[in-house]
Amino acid sequence: MQSETKSRVDQLTSPAGHPVTVLRFEGDIASTSKDAVLGTYQALPKDSVRLVLLDFSKVDYINSSGIALVIQMLIEASNSNQKVYAFGLSPHFTKVFTMVGITKYAGLFPSQAEALTAL
C-alpha cells in the first residue's frame, strides 16, 4: 500500500568548492523506508563525507516513523561530525519538520540551488 522508497546518491560541489553528498528520495518515507533512508546513508564513507544534503522534492508522504528515520540519521551524522541539510520539502512538511525540531539539526532550503549556495 505504501509506495516504495527509492533513493539515489549524487556527488556535487557547492559554489564555494565544498563536496556535497546528495541523498535523493522518492516515494513515501515511512516505517518500511529504513533501508532506503538509513541504509543509503550508512553506506556513505564516514571519513570523507562531511556535507550531506537530503532531497525530498519527489516525496509525497512522510509519517512519524519516517521522521524518526530522519532523526536516526541526524544522530549518526552528529556522531560523525557531518552536517546535514535538506531541500524540496512541501510547505506542510517544512512546518512539520520545524514543529518536531529537526530544523535545529538540519537546515532546510527551498531548492537545491539555494542549499548549495549556502554551503
Binding site: 500500500m1 505504501q2 515511512a30 516505517s31 518500511t32 508522504y61 509519517n63 512519524s64 516513523s65 521522521i67 524518526a68 528515520l69 532523526i71 536516526q72 541526524l74 544522530i75 552528529s78 512541501s90 510547505p91 506542510h92 512539520v96 514543529m99 518536531v100 525540531g101 529537526i102 535545529k104 539539526y105
Partner: protein, 148 residues
C-alpha cells in the same frame, strides 16, 4: 457544501500499515468539499494518518483480524474525525518530544505521532473504551480558524 449539517462518511481499514492513506485521502476529500484551505487539509491528512497508524500499531497491535473504524462527521463549521480501534486506549498522554534528547540518545527517536496530532488539529481527545475495547481518538478541525 449544501448538506454539510449532518453528513457522515465512514471508512473501515484493515490493521495493516499503509492503509492509513485511505483514511487520509477520504478525510482530505471531505475537507475539500467543506471548503477547507489547502494548508488545513494537509494538517488534517497528517493528523488522520497518525491517528490511524496508532490505531493499527498500538490499538489493534497489527492484528489483521481487527479493523480500524474512521468516522468523519462534517458539520457546518467543523469536521470531526473519530478513529476507533479495539485497544484499551491511552491511560495518559506521552510527554512532548524533545529533539535535543533524541539527538543525544536520551529519548527514543520515534514517538511523535500524538504530538503531531495535537499540534495540527484544533481539538484532540483520546477516549478509552468500555471493557477495554472500542477506544477512539476524536479530532476536530474548524473551518476558517482565526489566526492567532
Amino acid at each position: 457544501m449544501s448538506h454539510a449539517k449532518s453528513t457522515t462518511v465512514e471508512v473501515r481499514l484493515p490493521s495493516r500499515l499503509g492503509y492509513e492513506k485511505v483514511a487520509m485521502s477520504t478525510a482530505a476529500a471531505v475537507a475539500k468539499l467543506m471548503g477547507f484551505r489547502e494548508d488545513r487539509v494537509e494538517d488534517l491528512k497528517t493528523a488522520v494518518a497518525e491517528a490511524c497508524i496508532n490505531a493499527i500499531e498500538h490499538g489493534n497491535r497489527l492484528n489483521e483480524c481487527l479493523s480500524v473504524g474512521v468516522v468523519l462527521s462534517a458539520g457546518e463549521d467543523a469536521l470531526e474525525v473519530k478513529v476507533i480501534d479495539d485497544g484499551k486506549g491511552m491511560k495518559c498522554l506521552p510527554p512532548k518530544p524533545d529533539i535535543d534528547k533524541k539527538i543525544h540518545g536520551e529519548e527514543d527517536p520515534r514517538g511523535m505521532g500524538m504530538f503531531l496530532i495535537q499540534a495540527l488539529v484544533d481539538e484532540a481527545e483520546w477516549v478509552a473504551g468500555v471493557n477495554g475495547k472500542s477506544s477512539y481518538v476524536r479530532l476536530m478541525i474548524r473551518l476558517d480558524k482565526v489566526a492567532e
